[in-house]
């Protein structure tokens, strides 16, 4: 195998020339005033309108924050199973949460077996945390997820290893919300990448299928997708065949999310300069190697904000499964209020549910910012 290019040859190149050392020392940037009084005068009371705005803000804070602390902390009832205590108090009735939190968290899951969803969720959230650390993005992580999904399934359904079987119609609360959201994300994300690539494909048939799917699904509300999955779909099945209601809702959520995510991913793909494709082509990379090694890593990084936006939105959209009678977190929070003596404490119930939603969404939001910083390689100089 003789090729002309292989003969090692000497290349002449200029050596780096030494820098001129006789330059004057660099001038330091001007420092800004640091006195607190100066800062307040400059930023809060610099003009008449500014002063008025500042005073208005202080007044609003004075009117809202102390009463809120009074209600939520000082005057609140924290424990005791008697709703009368709450009615007599001025503050929040956190005793309601103490009393009902197991129902809100786990829904209709048999009370004595609730350690099972608890353990399953711990596994689930633990694995989510492990997978959010980029150095762990290795093949073993996929295996870990298979193992975690399997053990969560065993824990939730039971029926083996002496665990009492629990039908998935009795699942509810946080486990149901997390399962719908995480399984939804894990399945919708790869599907959305395929849809986005398909939409940019050179093959008209593939392109048409992808465009048709995305536009059809994006054109209808999630609620109608869920409704169709739950009510219409079984009508088309042959008699005797039934598909689990939870599974139908899950598939509905996956398809819906994938259609939206696909557009976010496509936005990322569009942002990759033509030169990247050409360089990969010129190096002899095949379509899939080019896509997986060069294009997607860059495109997904660009698309992190809209993708996470979609993740957050879909996490909260899982609450729409109430219309097909699944007991997700928001539904259990609502149902917990059906107990007559506790009926008045809806604010506490919804706040509790909201805080759980918020914790997950806030984590996703912060995590996406961390990821963006971490994947930054300095090619867009700011």
């Amino acid at each position: 195998m003789a090729r002309s290019g292989e003969t090692p040859g000497q290349i002449i190149a200029r050596e780096e020339e030494p820098k001129d050392v006789s330059l004057p020392p660099p001038k330091a940037p001007p420092t800004s005033p640091v006195l607190a009084v100066d800062w307040v005068r400059q930023h809060l009371f610099s003009s008449v309108p500014n002063t008025l705005l500042t005073l208005l803000c202080f007044w609003l804070l004075w009117e809202t924050v102390p009463p809120l602390i009074d209600w939520a902390l000082i005057g609140a009832v924290w424990s005791g199973g008697d709703p009368q205590l709450c009615r007599d108090a001025d503050g929040a009735c956190w005793a309601f949460i103490t009393e009902k939190h197991r129902f809100i968290l786990f829904g209709l899951y048999p009370f004595d077996e609730q350690w099972r969803p608890r353990l399953a969720m711990a596994l689930f959230v633990g694995t989510l945390l492990v997978s959010s650390y980029p150095p762990f993005w290795r093949p073993w992580l996929g295996l870990l997820w298979v193992a975690v999904f399997t053990s969560c399934g065993i824990l939730m359904w039971g029926g083996v290893f002496g665990l009492t079987p629990v039908d998935n119609t009795r699942w509810g609360g946080v486990p149901l919300t997390l399962i719908l959201a995480v399984v939804g994300l894990v399945c919708a994300f790869p599907l959305s990448i395929l849809l986005a690539l398909g939409r940019r494909s050179d093959l008209p048939a593939i392109r048409m299928v992808c465009v048709g799917f995305i536009e059809l699904i994006r054109g209808v509300p999630l609620i109608s997708v869920l409704f169709m999955a739950s009510v219409m779909f079984p009508l088309f099945l042959p008699e005797g065949v039934t598909i689990d209601k939870l599974l139908r809702a899950q598939v509905g959520i996956i398809l819906f999310t994938a259609a939206y995510l696909a557009e976010a991913v496509r936005g990322g793909l569009q942002s990759i300069p033509r030169g990247q494709f050409e360089a990969a082509d010129a190096m002899g990379l095949s379509y899939w190697k080019k896509t997986l090694l060069i294009i997607l890593p860059q495109a997904l990084k660009v698309a992190i904000p809209p993708i996470v936006n979609q993740f957050i939105s879909m996490f909260k959209d899982t609450s729409l499964v109430i219309i097909i009678g699944l007991f997700d977190l928001l539904t259990t929070a609502k149902t917990a209020l059906a107990d007559p003596p506790w009926r008045a404490f809806y604010i506490e119930s919804y706040l509790f549910a909201a805080m759980i939603y918020w914790a997950f969404c806030f984590f996703m939001s912060r995590y996406s910012q961390y990821l963006e910083r971490r994947l930054e390689t300095g090619h867009k100089r700011s």
């Binding site: 190149a13 030169g275 082509d281 010129a282 990379l285 990084k301 090619h379 867009k380």
Partner: protein, 257 residues
């Protein structure tokens, strides 16, 4: 084994690249008109001409970044057709350096260099990295191996891009205006690397306006205008005694300012 060996005695056995009456259109616009060009093994051809004359399009046809619609392109004995195998075969033989570098910003310099050896040529990672470091030394920036392209200067990036193309051990190198996007003080460091390659006997087609470089390395000068090859001659003749009026005009415009 190069495909040229398998085909044995083809009429082009001495030729690295042959273009025979190549035509190309962008819509109704005739960008390449009846291009005939033969580049022998070890030959260095410099292509010049006004912007929009089809220079880049012509060399981009050689490795199928652009598709020609009529005529024949033969690279190392392989005819360029729609056959994916032929295209892949040619791309293994041909390295390309772009005006805008086109390094992969999400990979380090070393990863940029080893990507193709590892994934296309299936070489072991260790070996690919060793070879990559040798090429980085040849372009005088081994100390930048762990950095990302965005942290390098334009001249350094273009030298990395040249090293990346060389890592595939190509027998032919295409340069598409490699110094046009560079600041003046960085042009020399890139041209020096290219001169070194030429001295090592690499077959090269280079689109450039660097006439000093052309005089030093070219065996043949090609002047293109409006999609055709107007004139082709060795540099001495080309610069001192251009035949066509258009070449004379072009040379007077770029050499006297």
């Amino acid at each position: 084994m190069t495909p040229g060996d398998t085909l044995g005695d083809t009429p082009n056995s001495g030729a690295a690249i042959t273009l025979e009456s190549v035509h190309k259109w962008y819509g109704a616009f005739h960008v390449l008109q009846d291009i005939n060009l033969t580049v022998q093994r070890g030959e260095r051809v410099v292509v010049c001409g006004p912007s929009g004359s089809g220079k880049s399009t012509m060399i981009r046809c050689v490795n199928r970044l652009e598709e020609h619609q009529e005529g024949k392109i033969i690279v190392n004995g392989i005819e360029l057709t729609n056959d994916v195998k032929a295209i892949e075969g040619i791309r293994r033989e041909v390295g390309m350096v772009f005006q805008s570098f086109n390094l992969f910003p999400h990979l380090t310099v070393l990863e940029n260099l080893t990507l193709s050896p590892i994934w296309v040529q299936k070489r072991p990672k260790k070996e690919a990295e060793q070879a990559a470091m040798e090429y980085l030394e040849r372009v005088h920036i081994p100390e930048q191996a762990k950095k990302y392209p965005g942290q390098l200067s334009g001249g350094q990036q273009q030298r990395v891009a040249i090293a990346r193309a060389l890592c595939m051990k190509p027998s032919i190198m295409l340069f598409d205006e490699p110094t046009s996007a560079l600041d003046p003080e960085m042009i020399k460091e890139v041209l020096d690397v290219m001169v070194g390659l030429a001295e090592a006997g690499m077959t090269m087609i280079c689109v450039t306006h660097e006439m000093g470089f052309a005089k030093t390395v070219a065996n043949n000068m090609v002047f293109m205008d409006e999609g055709s090859i107007v004139e082709m001659a060795p540099p001495k003749e080309f610069f001192t005694n251009p035949k066509s009026e258009r070449t004379q005009k072009f040379l007077s415009q770029i050499l006297t300012h």
